[in-house]
Amino acid sequence: MFGTIVKRILQGILVLVLVVIITFVVLRLIPGDPARQMASDGSAQAVEEIRAEMGLDKPIYVQLFEYIPKLLTGQLGWSYFQKAPVFDVIVNTAPFTYALLFSAMILGVIMGLIFGIIAAVKAHTWVDRTLSAIAVVFQSMPTYWVATMLILIVSVQWGLLPAVGYKSPKYLILPAFVVSIPIFTAVLRNVRQNVMDGLSQEFSRAARARGISHITILFKYAFRNSLIPFITQIGGQVGVSLGTCVLIESVFSLPGMGMQILNAVLRRDYNLVQGLILILAATFVLINAIIDISYSYLDPRIRKAQGGL
């Protein structure tokens, strides 16, 4: 058990190291120059000076060797554009992204669970077909478009919720709903399929033959057995949802990491992009590590195979 955790942590660190190096190199290889971004119509001399100030006049590997030790001591560097430590930018913006991510995950998962179970129980009836149709429709709508439509309807037409910026948690409702849609549809289909599979498994039938009630079979047998694929899927959804957050924050002008990262990429604010990607990747790695470790708690087969606990 302990071994597994250590292994997962090492794997996670390896992934993050790769992410750091790849981002570092790729950012500097793609065309575009942060110095030019700061002084767009500046003279070549002014641009050179800014570049030197940013340390970008050195070869990439030298920059990398200077960056890594700093990173190890927790220094994420300085944002060229924000003129502030990257760490501060992250501290200021991460809460919005995490709030958005978690509320969307919770919303999407809860909705997906409820409707997925209903669809499975009512499999092949009009209820199921309606739910599946809704899921397909939702899934095929581009998130950006959904966001725009919601703003038009809820904010502009009805005047119910604000569309831009952030002042109170109410500003999170629309974006969270938008981010939750892909989660909702994925969870719905996953839960529906797995619960249906679970219900048609021999052990569910055997339980029925022992006089166990439908509802017990539904949760204790069918759903319990779909938990692992379900949780695995949530792990995958974290990545997708982080991506959606990045996109959606800009639409709603939610001042989170997503909006920062888009700007930072546009501006070639290397350190900021680097820091934000590191944090986003770490979030993804961490959640997935937790999920992997949780398998062994959830599944006796894995637990026994690992011979612990």
Partner: protein, 528 residues
């Protein structure tokens, strides 16, 4: 055992919920739900409201030192935070700013009288010391703010409210005063750390309160010197909203009063909405095609002219930009000091283009080496569609051009690059905040042109010549009879059109005026 499990589950759920609630970012009370929150002002007038909400299309850069950037969003902000030395008008004149009287001398220097009784937002007095500090720092070669200054300016203090400005080289140049128009006066005592930690500080009608969550909060400054134009709206929230559709939605829902850069497709929607209006202003931004001189093929005068004659600019403006641009008749925007139509500027003429192509040595395009045309996606309106249109224009006369639309940062690098990878032609727009023809023409064509890298001693000499002529009328003559016709005969860069600013605003505000440089005086706006 079972009990424990359920408890654990419950705990997990509670934890998740509380994490996400705890994550819900806290907002200080002072800022909560002020002004235009509780929206739908569309139907309820803003009477009694005290916050003007403006949505910026560009992001604000931190740091706030006016010399440290050339970023448009920050310049918009500086317009209301600072008083500029002089102000340009859209008819190409300069009017008083912090300097209320000035006199230019034959040696290229100028004496400026500075207003008395002007205070910075921290209460300190603004005098000649600050003006000297501003001018010398702002024009210092290594500073991004100096990008349009031909050279470093120097300043002597004559008395506490009089200064003498002169070019450091001693060589006079005519656009010096225009460069000062547009220079915001900042305090000689404010350090770079103060800018970073406390934000910008000037003598303008609004003072900076804070920058938070991509929004700049401003408050009216009681001590603004121009009492006639003292702000009527107490607070301004200047918010960065990258998405054009979202900006429009915020305007329509009443969450915002002014939105920058509406899209051409959105004009219809605004016209249908009784609560919204839009304003269209001919900007100071002249869009053009840069011909990269270092490419051997682009040194062929006739080829450049062939390229220019082949372009159907009217067609592109009508078909793609819906008429929301003015086809260029000269090399800068008409609102600039020393503007005149350029005589002999090629207009759409495919026959002539073919002729020139043959003269260039490539009849019907035979033997023409490959030409690449780069444009940005997302920087200016509909660049990609226009680019495709041009490529077709060129193809029609026998010039095959490879189209290369790229993302903005890549484009910007290619724009300023003389390397092979920059290709032959790059589309750009140019809008200095100092509206004197000398500024962009000098930057683009004198010595080594900034983007096209053209080296034409004759042209450089002409540009030098005009800048030595201090008398405005005589200077204009040099421009219209010598510089512009020469430029037109060479077409080192091919002018396309002058873009229009399209801003949306709420029907509930009045006094909203946008100038050609996209500056707007929030202090002159009031709620109906």
């Amino acid at each position: 055992m079972r009990m424990k499990k359920k408890l654990a589950l419950l705990l997990a759920v509670v934890m998740l919920l509380s994490i996400s609630l705890a994550c819900a970012p806290k907002v200080p009370d002072s800022q909560k739900e002020t002004g235009t929150e509780d929206s739908k002002q569309g139907s309820t007038p803003d009477k009694g409201k005290d916050t003007l909400v403006v949505l910026s299309a560009g992001a604000f850069a931190g740091g706030w030192d006016p010399t440290s950037h050339s970023i448009l969003a920050n310049k918009h902000l500086e317009h209301v935070l600072y008083t500029k030395i002089l102000y340009p008008t859209d008819s190409g004149e300069l009017v008083p700013g912090l300097c209320y009287e000035w006199e230019t001398h034959d040696d290229g220097s100028a004496t400026m009288k500075i207003r008395e009784g002007v205070t910075f937002h921290d209460g300190s007095v603004c005098d000649a010391e600050d003006v000297k500090y501003t001018i010398e720092n702002y024009s210092e070669k290594s500073k991004p703010s100096a990008s349009n200054f031909r050279e470093q300016l120097k300043c002597d203090i004559i008395d506490p409210y009089t200064v003498k400005v002169y070019p450091s080289s001693g060589e006079p140049f005519a656009e010096m005063m225009a460069l000062l128009a547009g220079t915001p006066v900042f305090s000689s005592e404010r350090t770079s750390e103060q800018y970073t930690n406390e934000g910008p500080m000037g003598t303008g009608p609004y003072k900076f309160v804070k920058f938070e969550n991509e929004c700049v909060y401003l408050e009216a400054y009681d001590g603004y010197w121009d009492t006639e134009k003292a702000p009527s709206i107490k607070y301004v929230e200047y918010k960065y909203v990258p998405d054009a559709a979202t900006r429009l939605a915020a305007l329509q829902s009443g969450e915002a009063h002014i939105i920058e850069r509406i899209e051409i497709e959105h004009i219809d929607l605004i016209e249908k909405d009784a609560n919204c209006k839009y304003v269209e202003v001919v900007s100071g931004e002249c869009q053009m095609l840069i011909c990269k001189w270092p490419r051997e093929i682009m040194k062929n005068d006739n080829l450049r002219l062939a390229l220019a004659y082949a372009l159907d600019r009217e067609g592109a403006v009508d078909a793609i930009l819906g008429g929301h641009a003015s086809v260029a008749k000269g090399f800068v925007a008409p609102s600039f000091v020393a503007y005149a139509d350029a005589k002999g500027l090629p207009t759409y003429n495919p026959e002539k283009a073919k002729e020139k192509l043959a003269e260039a040595g490539y009849p019907n395009g035979e033997g023409l080496p490959p030409i690449t045309f780069t444009t940005s996606v997302g920087m200016y309106a509909k660049t990609k569609e226009c680019g495709e249109y041009f490529v077709q224009n060129w193809k029609d006369v026998g010039i095959n051009v490879t189209f290369n639309p790229v993302e903005t940062a890549t484009w910007e690098e290619l724009l300023y690059s003389d390397e092979e990878r920059a290709g032959e032609i790059v589309h750009t727009g140019w809008s200095p905040s100092m509206p004197d023809a000398g500024v962009p023409i000098n930057a683009h064509y004198a010595n080594r042109g900034r983007c096209n890298f053209v080296e034409d001693p004759e042209l450089t000499a002409l540009i030098q010549k005009q800048s030595r002529v201090t008398d405005p009328e005589e200077r204009l003559k040099v421009w219209s009879e010598e510089v512009y016709p020469y430029l037109a005969s060479k077409c080192y860069n091919i002018p396309l059109w002058v873009s229009h600013h399209l801003y949306g605003y709420s029907a509930n505000i009045e006094g909203f005026v946008l100038d050609s440089l996209s500056f707007c005086n929030f202090n002159e706006i009031s709620f109906k």
